[in-house]
Amino acid sequence: MTDYKALEKQIQDQARQWLESGEVKYVIGFEKGDNSPVCRPVFIYKPEDAGKLAWGPLCNNNLTKYLVEEVQIKPKKGEEPDLRPVGIVVKPCDSKTIVELMKENIVPRERVKIIGVISEGTINPKALDKALKDVPLDKIAGIQILDGGDNFTIKYDGEPLSVPKDELLNGKCKVCVVHNPVVYDIFVGDKVTQIDKDEFEDIADLEAMSDEERYEYWKEQLSKCIRCYACRDTCPLCYCEECVFDRTKPYNWNEKTVDLPENFFYHMVRAMHLAGRCVDCGGCERVCPMDIPIRKLNRFLLKRAKERFKVVPGINVEDKAMFGDYDIDDPGEGIK
């Protein structure tokens, strides 16, 4: 059980302290949304604003994307760059992203001060909408969510609702095995004991299908794609300054037409680019307007990378990158 209010207080105090001492340039965190219980990203520059920082199961964004943008900014001519670290509030999955970013030499460790918060799962806003269908619209923004062990208690000025966690949690949280931040300067919360479970149970049914059934499944899913590239834009590990899908010269790899072969190409290439790097923060699925299960592609490659090459991303900065390394004894069955 997580006491969100206590965690929130700790985050605010830490951010205030860092901002007062000038140790950090600013703090990236979450604040409460205006007309919605869902939290949104906020950038805190002044110590007196630290009270805005919020914490709860509706802090869904992976804020490390802003970190990548921060370190990629080039200083203007004649200007001294401000190289002070940036404070950031991270969930365990986001902290895994930071490990990957450090591994790939994108974010230097000294440029970031991490407030690592434990998390036992975040709520899918779409599922929350469904659970709140009986709550009057004007009350929704003011609801309070408490962790009750196996269920969430939703408090508003009517009768409190109790909803089982399974109904509300994000898909990624249901299969997640890392509930404590991997890298942090300040650890917020009490260490959660690790649960041992099959972390790839959610793709087992797809793997059990025949090739034809799987193709039909992906055909149905990928034909929905409108190629808004939101999945790419939100992904903290898609940091290329020029994406291959934006480039038209010297060769236009992917037509802008939205049709099935192009969509297949886009999603397969993106999955390959994230193979052995994706930490399953669930950002792509969260922003997808067409509800395509993009994570499944990434998770499948995650599974195979683990089985074949013993690569598990986002755990240790010292690990070698998946495609930057090789083993002479890598499996190569089927090669003639």
């Binding site: 797809l206 793997e207 090739d211 034809e212 059934e213 799987r214 193709y215 039909e216 499944y217 992906w218 055909k219 291959v244 790899w253 049709d259 099935l260 072969p261 192009e262 297949f264 190409f265 397969m268 290439v269 999955a271 390959m272 193979a275 052995g276 592609l297 499948f300 490659l301 195979r304 990378a305 074949r308 090459f309 998946m322 495609f323 090789y326 083993d327 002479i328 890598d330 499996p331 190569g332 089927g334 090669i335 003639k336």
Partner: protein, 147 residues
């Protein structure tokens, strides 16, 4: 296709081969100069190393209508660039897995190690691969076309 009205037997698969400059391309060359017979279904693209083959190349080839893709490089340990083929092996086996997961028949993709002296092996690999693709028929899943 050119022969749309033709009988099914007249259909010839299109196979794209990515061959490394140092071993496999020389091996294919040897097959040619030794007058070893091999199917004309293969179109070879020379790359400097099998490690140069981005999975994207293979997927693009399928998307543009290739019925099969063959990637060939030096035997492990023999790479001209010491380790290029090891990198190729990692990338492309994982891509083969992805083909399987998306329901595209992974047997349309083949990797092989062919050295500069293995003209005979090159011919065998291409013949066998062509036979397999002929059985599978035209590839439409990633190209979206009718063959």
């Amino acid at each position: 296709m050119e022969d749309e009205g033709g009988a099914k037997e007249s259909w010839e698969p299109k196979i794209i081969g990515f061959f490394c400059n140092w071993c496999s391309y020389a091996g294919a060359d040897l097959a040619g100069t030794s007058r070893i017979q091999y199917p004309t279904t293969i179109r070879i693209i020379k790359v400097m190393c099998s490690g140069r083959v981005n999975p994207q190349f293979v997927l693009k080839a399928f998307q543009e209508g290739a019925d099969g893709v063959l990637v060939s490089g030096c035997h492990p340990g023999d790479c001209h660039y010491i380790e290029g083929n090891y990198h190729a092996r990692r990338k492309l086996t994982l891509m083969e897995d992805l083909l399987e997961f998306t329901g595209v028949d992974p047997s349309r993709f083949q990797m092989s190690w062919v050295s500069a002296s293995e003209g005979q092996k090159f011919a065998e690999v291409v013949t066998e691969f062509t036979e397999r693709i002929k059985k599978l028929g035209p590839q439409t899943k990633l190209s979206g076309g009718e063959g």
